[in-house]
């Protein structure tokens, strides 16, 4: 298999060694790790670049510098490990997929790059300026972000407290961030992106890994800081900033792109430095339980790659955008269609990428704060025939949970989120959670408020304000005192 004609794939060969990787279309260069200044002369007139280097034998800052000098944004240049690549089932497949990921890179902005001074001592760091390495960090699209409505999903999930809200606007502190990507997949509106790990890039890489291999493959998400170790034949690594970002939606996506198995691997045996091991573990367990409940093989979702991937891919209809904001519901329904169908009952699991909202009519005042905050429009309201209703569409709910802390009647248990996958609820469409009559103004006939709201106000005021409440129930704001 050859590489895309507009991609240069450069492989380092250490002096005296025989080349272990001889991929079609790739260029093997002596001592590229030690002399990255050779990049420019081998990557002229191409659009994309892929490098295969020996771990711990190159200075990332120097490689990034030479990438820039050759006209490439280094954040869009995949750097593959020589040993891992040569040990892969097919180096050609790995390199072609890396080229596809490079081609899907959409560029980075100045805000999306963070300097990090290398920790290990080098001759340069002792004698002079230790060139910083640059890592891709997330950015927030404030046009898409709904923090102004009260959403703070990024604040809630960030393990380093890099996000805060000020004046209804998300404030991101690059200096604090250790890019793990959890905010990217937790954002319910897709307003946060990391330029080096966009859904387009991941999808492009997986599609080539799946289509270029003659046999079904397993896709293993691996942490950029870790090392996957020896894998059984048939597994291919897809690098992400931290496998804590691989929600169940991301974990299941490869199955909908034709992979036979999928996995999320912890970065080290000692555990994640950011303490995010549990996130990937939850996603794995949920995905296994979902598949099992659907009558499919839950064993195709793994937490290790010791054993070969499943011999056959699931017969499941491909999705247009399995990594998208609404990829969770669509994925579950696609898998349900391939399995036992939607009537399997509900699966309650804290790794579920979708949720179901429950409202207690005895506590809810229909103030609609939850509707204002809901970032995806899953919660809505409907008014008509003298009635006001709070509605919910499970197919739009990403279980972000922003509605719960935003409820003024939270302490009375007015609203609850169940991280629950219920295929029947996903196909049921919008339904009413709670509705009450709307009081009408005696003077103009206009709407005053739902009876639930007035009842709550009455309860808070107490009996001594009975006359006031009665008056409030008779006239709307405009007609009071008129």
């Amino acid at each position: 298999m050859g590489n895309d004609v507009s991609t240069a794939t450069l492989i380092c060969r250490e002096t005296g060694d025989a080349a272990a990787i001889e991929a079609v279309g790739a260029v093997v260069i002596d001592d590229l790790c030690a002399r990255p200044d050779q990049i420019g002369s081998h990557a002229a007139d191409v659009d994309h670049l892929v490098l295969v280097l020996h771990r711990d034998r190159f200075a990332l800052a120097d490689v990034q510098t030479q990438c820039r000098a050759a006209g490439f944004d280094p954040l869009g240049v995949p750097i593959l490990d020589y040993e891992d690549t040569s040990a892969a089932t097919s180096s050609d497949v790995v390199l072609a997929a890396a080229a596809a990921r490079a081609a899907a890179f959409g560029g980075s902005t100045p805000e999306e790059s963070k300097p990090v001074f290398p920790q290990r001592m080098t001759r340069r760091s002792l004698l002079g300026f230790p060139r910083p390495e640059y890592v891709a960090v997330p950015s927030v699209d404030h046009e898409t972000c709904v923090a102004t409505d009260g959403c703070a999903a990024c604040v809630a999930v960030c393990p380093r407290q890099a996000y805060s809200i000020s004046g209804g606007r998300v404030v991101y502190d690059k200096a604090t961030c250790e890019p793990c990507g959890v905010c990217v997949t937790a954002c319910p509106t897709g307003a946060i992106r990391n330029p080096a790990v966009t859904p387009d890039q991941i999808r492009a890489q997986i599609e080539v890994l799946v289509s270029a291999s003659p046999v079904p493959v397993g896709i293993a998400y691996v942490c950029r800081l870790g090392r996957p170790g020896a894998a059984a034949p048939g597994w291919y690594a897809v690098e992400v900033p931290c496998t804590g970002m691989t929600t169940a939606t991301w974990l299941l996506a490869p199955l909908l792109l034709g992979a036979s198995s999928t996995a999320a691997l912890p970065c080290t045996a000692a555990g994640c430095t950011l303490g995010l091991d549990a996130l990937a573990g939850k996603a794995v367990r949920f995905a296994q339980e979902l598949l099992g409940t659907l009558g499919l093989d839950g064993g195709v979702v793994r937490a290790s790659v010791d054993e070969e991937p499943a011999p056959h891919a699931l017969a499941v209809a491909p999705l247009d955008d399995p990594f998208g904001v609404h990829g969770g519901p669509e994925t579950i329904l696609a898998l349900a269609a391939a399995g036992a169908g939607p009537s399997i009952g509900a699966i309650d699991h804290d790794g579920s990428p979708v949720g179901v909202i429950e409202v207690d009519g005895a506590a809810c005042t229909l103030c609609m704060s939850c509707v204002s905050i809901c970032p995806t429009g899953a919660l809505g309201h409907q008014e008509g025939d003298g009635e006001l209703a709070l509605t919910f569409d499970a197919a739009l709910c990403t279980a972000c949970g922003q509605c719960v802390p935003g409820c003024p009647e939270l302490r009375r248990g007015a609203i609850r989120l169940h991280t629950r996958a219920d295929p029947e609820a996903l196909v049921a469409g919008r339904r009413t959670l709670y509705a009450t009559e709307t009081l009408r103004c005696e003077s103009c006939g206009g709407s005053i408020a739902p009876t639930a709201t007035m009842d709550r106000i009455g309860a808070m005021l107490g009996d001594e304000y009975g006359a006031t409440l009665a008056y409030l129930k008779r006239f709307c704001m405009d007609c009071r005192g008129a």
Partner: protein, 224 residues
């Protein structure tokens, strides 16, 4: 020259701020010649070690594409100097921070002027406002020069103070309003031409410099 030592990096940053300060002034023939010469020199200083090299390269390409006898006067006046009412992209901080953003134009301008004077600088030309982008970039250039002197003389306290002052000034002034100014210039130019490329580079450079100063101060002194 390369970016092998701290002093060289400080000198590079000083030169880039100086270059940008000049580039946002009226483009007379003498100034343009000086800018071309400065660009050629700065390009040899190891700038490719930093992410803004890609925007720098685009700026050099835009400058090289200028015809031999071309003048930027018309475009400069259209964008930056057509009078208060008609200026498409006012290059002064108070414009962006005096109104809807809730700031205080007089306070902002006075603070920039205080920094300018404290460094022994003064604004030149009757028309140049104290809070003009060129003035603010010159302040940064002077602070980088102080840092370079500190590195050369080996007085760590001077280096630390200079970098602290750079960080504070950036966060108090150019880093706040440059994104709005840059967005206006991009809108007005379609991101094309010398000024489209210039504002892209300036934005990228300042954004990087804030992060660079934070990383460097944390690395050297554990300062956040």
């Amino acid at each position: 020259m390369t970016t092998e030592s701290w002093v060289e990096v400080a000198q590079l940053r000083r030169g880039l701020y100086r270059f940008l300060g000049g580039a946002f002034q009226s483009p007379n023939e003498e100034r343009m010649e000086a800018l071309f010469a400065a660009a050629g020199y700065l390009d040899t200083m190891g700038i490719e070690a930093f992410p803004y090299y890609l925007q720098w390269n685009a700026l050099l390409a835009a400058l090289e594409e200028l015809p031999e006898d071309a003048s930027l006067d018309g475009e400069y006046i259209r964008l930056f100097a057509s009078g208060v009412e008609r200026t498409l992209c006012p290059p002064t901080e108070a414009f962006y921070r005096g109104g809807a953003e809730g700031g205080d134009a007089a306070r902002v301008t006075a603070d920039v002027q205080r920094h300018t004077l404290s460094l022994g600088l003064s604004t030149t030309g009757a028309a140049e406002a104290p809070d003009h982008i060129s003035s603010e970039l010159e302040v940064m250039s002077a602070l980088c020069a102080r840092e370079a002197t500190g590195w050369t003389s080996g007085v760590t306290a001077d280096v630390e103070a200079a970098m602290r002052d750079q960080h504070r000034f950036l966060l108090a002034h150019p880093a706040v309003w440059l994104p709005w100014f840059a967005a206006r210039v991009r809108d007005a130019t379609g991101g094309e031409g010398v000024y489209g490329a210039l504002v892209d580079f300036c934005h990228g450079f300042v954004v990087h410099d804030v992060a660079y100063l934070e990383a460097t101060r944390a690395h050297l002194w554990g300062t956040t």
